[in-house]
């Protein structure tokens, strides 16, 4: 414990020093007409390759538009993309390269939780502002924390939403959970379990699946045997598909099944599962809106102009949202841009709206988790409809 405390003090001190040093001279990564941002995205590795390109394209779409309109206070945004691979081994050198070699003004995006946790102290010690768009682990934005902000839902909070929604299902007393116990799944799983524990609930089935599991029959059988009222899942889209197919065989898809923020396109999910009726009772919690909503249509063309194969997925939507928040903060910080002024500007953001997300983002000096708005959705007559934060029958 003691070592942790000293490290924390040190990193705060480091932040302060870096800020003072930054203010005295011309700011790192800022010239008369450019602002350099390190775009930290996973482009390789099993977990990374699907997340990174979407986030990067979302960001580039927003920033290209801003640059074409003349930039921010006379400065254009330039970005250097570094592959974090979703691992500590790739992520640490990537962030060191961005900070020490590319001399970026700030960092943005970030892919997986573990990669960010592994280099979190390096970011704090160097006092570099970092806007995190996808990773959900609670510890990333934990205070004291000079400079890391998040636009996605914190995993612990998402777990609370899932647990509360599960409890709101009429007559629900027996809860089953199935989760990936890797770095991604563990943070969400802990969030749900902690909340359930608060309510004095122990799940009657607590099953595990990996991203690679080829057959979920044992999971489905065990859950079916436990006879639950609700099933909570924290699985990547692929294992979700594998699980739902097996679950359907044993009649589990008649129960409410609760999904999470990485699945926000239920129309696609139904196609992938390929069994009519298998997701009739699936509810997903999301902070990004339905990608098939008509008013988001123009974004599809805009994204395609930057990278033809990128679709409107949660990942590209995270990128658009996050990049817009960065633009807003840079606007607020004014022409005299320093890391300190950017952080102050970021902390002053209140009620920032983006068409990609349900709720506004609000930051403060004490709270760097700006996003507090989730929404449960389900598929109804082939369309994704809002349910709210508690269960209700959709007619």
């Amino acid at each position: 414990m003691r070592t942790h405390a000293t490290r924390r003090t040190l990193s705060v001190l480091g932040c302060a020093l870096a800020l003072v040093a930054g203010a005295a001279t011309a700011e790192t990564g800022v010239t008369d007409d450019t602002i350099r941002i390190g775009l930290m995205v996973p482009l390789t590795g099993p977990a990374g390759a699907t997340v990174g390109p979407g986030m990067a394209t979302g960001a580039k779409t927003v920033w290209t538009e801003v640059n074409e309109a003349g930039g921010i206070h006379g400065r254009k945004i330039e970005w250097v993309e570094e592959d974090t691979g979703c691992t500590a081994e790739m992520g640490i050198p990537a962030v060191k390269k961005a900070i020490h070699d590319h001399q970026v003004f700030m960092l943005a995006s970030g892919g997986c939780s573990n990669e960010i946790l592994s280099y979190r102290d390096i970011v704090l010690e160097n006092g570099v502002p970092y806007s995190v768009w996808g990773a959900t682990n609670d510890k990333i934005t934990q205070q004291p924390n000079c400079c890391i902000f998040r636009t996605s839902l914190r995993a612990g909070y998402e777990g609370v939403l899932q647990a509360d929604f599960a409890r709101s299902v009429p007559n629900a007393e027996r809860f089953a959970i199935i989760a990936q116990h890797d770095a991604w799944g563990q943070a969400k799983y802990d969030g749900v379990m902690n909340k359930l524990k608060e309510y004095g609930i122990t799940p009657i089935a607590d099953e595990e699946m990996t991203a690679e599991t080829a057959d979920a029959t044992p999971q489905a059988l065990r859950i079916s045997k436990a006879n639950p009222d609700v099933i909570i899942t924290d699985l990547f889209p692929k294992p979700t598909t594998v699980f739902l197919r097996a679950a359907h065989q044993y009649g589990l898809t008649k129960l409410p099944i609760i999904l999470h923020t990485s699945i926000n396109d239920l129309v696609q999910l139904e196609k992938d599962v390929g069994i009519p009726g298998a997701i009739d009772n699936a509810y997903t919690v999301t902070f990004t809106r339905d990608p098939n909503a008509p008013d988001l249509e123009p974004w599809k063309a805009k994204l395609a102009a930057i990278a033809p194969e990128i679709k409107l997925t949660p990942y590209s939507m995270w990128g658009v949202t996050g990049a817009s928040v960065v633009v807003e903060a840079l606007q607020r910080a004014g022409r005299d841009l320093t890391r300190e002024s950017l952080i102050a500007a970021m902390e002053s953001i209140e009620g920032f709206e983006s068409e990609m997300i349900f709720g506004p983002l609000t930051y403060s000096a004490e709270d760097h988790d700006g996003n507090k708005t989730g929404m449960f959705q389900k598929l109804h007559n082939g369309k994704q409809v809002d349910v709210g934060l508690v269960w209700k029958a959709i007619e």
Partner: protein, 320 residues
């Protein structure tokens, strides 16, 4: 002929290499210091794997597990039990060495692919344990590891850790070099070439195998501890099949049963991985192509090529 003898050139090159590595932390950015530090640690790992696979001719792949055990033991003793790094680090390496002797037992009976798969299974089970022993390891989320206490050494922690790695590497190379040239080295040679005949020549297969696995485990365990304090972070992802493949490639690319091979193989692999970052998705294709071309043109690795050009450099050992 005024041409210098190749041995001497090699010796000069080694001294020059060490000199460059010694001053590097003050000449290059912290990013490059990090990459060099990882490179040094991987040379130790390649040496450790080469000891078992190259010199002793045992197709065992448990190295990644030894490395993980070294890292986790050190990290947990420091963060959970408040041990000093200077006790926890060797403790982790000793545990890895002890487990190494256990892995040597099946190697007494199993050979070739069968030994490979049993050791790969061992790596997967150890990785699985790191992931699932949450009460101890924190599971998949991993945990942060502080810098070692350098007792007021007047250089920054990052550079100090770098020098610690460098010193460990030099120590490891010295030990392995002397060992290979000794009677023990000749036993290894015999083990690799003619395992069935070895007992008839008065070689104790049992102790030789146990000893070489223990030493390999010790080196990998030390490297694991260094790896953890360099990344300042430990999670199970670092001790999985991918690392195993990368280390295997290092040994094969550099050259089997060759110290020079371990050095060259690890250096080239790590630098390639960093340089090819820019290729994004094509990273894998590029590294695969380079590996394939190297192995097709120099089936005995780059060290094999060097020895082919300068036969006097051939280490006193068997042909792999």
């Amino acid at each position: 002929m005024i041409m210098a003898r190749p041995e001497r050139v090699l010796r000069y090159a080694a001294v020059a290499g060490v000199a460059v590595l010694a001053v590097a932390p003050w000449m290059v950015s912290l990013y490059k210091v990090h990459v060099l530090n990882i490179l040094i640690i991987n040379i130790i790992l390649a040496t450790s794997l080469n000891l078992v696979m190259g010199y002793a001719g045992q197709f065992a792949k448990a190295n990644v597990a030894f490395m993980g055990l070294g890292a986790y033991t050190m990290g947990l003793l420091v963060t959970r039990a408040d041990w000093s790094f200077w006790i926890a680090w060797p403790a982790g390496a000793l545990l890895a060495a002890a487990v190494g002797t256990l892995v040597a037992l099946p190697a007494l009976r199993l050979r070739g692919l069968y030994l490979a798969i049993i050791t790969i299974s061992f790596v997967l089970i150890v990785h699985w344990s790191f992931l699932h022993a949450r009460f101890l390891t924190g599971g998949a989320s991993g945990f942060s590891v502080p810098h070692p206490n350098y007792f007021g050494l007047p250089i920054p922690n990052i550079q100090a850790t770098y020098y610690l790695s460098l010193l460990t590497l030099l120590g490891a190379m010295w030990i392995v070099r002397n060992l290979v040239a000794s009677g023990f080295g000749r036993s290894l040679l015999c083990l690799a070439e003619q395992e069935l005949v070895a007992p008839a020549l008065g070689i104790n297969v049992f102790t030789t195998k146990i000893a070489v696995f223990a030493l390999s485990g010790l080196l990998a365990g030390l490297a694991g501890g260094l790896h953890a304090v360099t990344l300042q972070f430990i999670d199970p992802q670092n001790f999985w099949l991918l690392q195993l493949v990368v280390q295997l490639c290092m040994v094969a690319l550099g050259g089997v049963a060759s110290l020079l091979g371990s050095v060259l193989g690890a250096s080239i692999m790590i630098l390639l991985i960093e340089v090819l970052r820019a290729f994004k998705g094509l990273w894998e294709f590029a590294i695969g192509a380079i590996l394939l071309l190297t192995i097709v043109f120099f089936p005995r690795g780059i060290a094999g090529l060097v020895e082919h050009l300068f036969p006097s450099l051939r280490e006193r050992r068997h042909r792999p």
